[in-house]
């Protein structure tokens, strides 16, 4: 039987563009974060609070990804930062070419940190490199402490875990120590921040950590 040996990565097209994005971001000295989480964990709130708390320290540009609507870009736009919305029309994740095209609208803007807010989904976005420096996974206390064990690929691929909505802990059965233990059992290197985008608790530490990475890419 004739056999053609190919040995090619299925997502090589995406990976090639992701690496081009990475080179481009590097040439602009940008620190690029890909925010991933399930829907409703507070990704957009974290984008808003990160902008608010970083005033006077570093400048932020944002690419918003959603299945439908410009609502998130409209929220971010109120903070007077460069923002562009990607609507995937049903697509469950962002791909490198979408980020490349969206970034063209931001290229002439002046900022130090690019936040890419992915589509709310803890599965598919883990397979697609966008050219970011790091993935930041956001997990809220309302989602339960066993979530990392259910979506190991995402937690393994992330560098930072933001535990959001810690102001709700008194009302929930979520055991935050168990949540951290579960996340670290998948990825011992995870840098963890406990925050509340509602009260602002923990956000200063997060901003300080980003600041350390600005200009280093």
């Amino acid at each position: 039987m004739p056999v053609i040996t190919i040995e090619r990565k299925v997502l090589e097209k995406n990976d090639v563009i992701a690496n081009q994005n990475r080179e481009k971001f590097k040439s602009k000295n940008l620190f690029v974060m890909n925010f991933v989480s399930s829907p409703g964990s507070g990704k957009t709130s974290l984008v808003e609070k990160t902008i608010e708390f970083s005033r006077g320290k570093f400048k932020i540009g944002v690419i918003e990804g959603d299945v439908q609507t410009n609502l998130d870009a409209e929220r971010v736009n109120k903070f007077n930062v460069p923002v562009v919305q990607i609507v995937t029309n049903g697509g469950c994740h962002l791909e490198a070419n979408l980020v490349r095209d969206a970034y063209k609208n931001l290229e002439n803007e002046d900022f130090d940190v690019l936040i890419i807010e992915n589509v709310g989904n803890l599965v598919c976005p883990s397979s697609y490199d966008l050219g970011e420096d790091i993935k930041v996974v956001i997990l809220s206390t309302t989602e339960g402490d066993d979530k990392p064990l259910k979506y190991p690929a995402m937690f393994r691929n992330a560098s930072v875990l933001i535990i959001n909505k810690i102001d709700l802990l008194p009302y929930l059965d979520c055991n935050i120590e168990e949540m951290k233990k579960n996340a670290l059992s998948i990825n011992q290197q995870l840098k963890i921040f406990e925050v509340s985008c509602k009260t602002g608790e923990g956000l200063s530490e997060w901003i300080e950590w980003i600041q350390k990475n600005v200009g280093k890419s």
Partner: protein, 113 residues
Amino acid sequence: MHELSIAQEIINIVKTSLPDGHQKVKNVKIRVGKLSGVLSDSLKFCFESIIYQTELEGALLVIEEIPVQIKCNECNSISIIDDPFFQCKNCQSFDVQLISGKELEITEIELED
């Protein structure tokens, strides 16, 4: 959900790898890591749906599932893990590196004789 776009990528790669005047494609062999985020049964279903009534109809997607393998940075042991705990089975350390499990690769196309 993204298995459909992955199946389409596989088909694109197969089509561009076939020589002119090739025989009918019998099998497409791929390697799928258990940590790749791809569900094998769903991928097979999407592959079959896309090739229906095309020149590739009848081709089988043959999937080799690759286990999640880790190497311990402390004792150098290699373990295969089935549960999501990235922990060395020899010394129980969590300081481990992933050596396989994220694969998503096409390896071979088999044609009919």
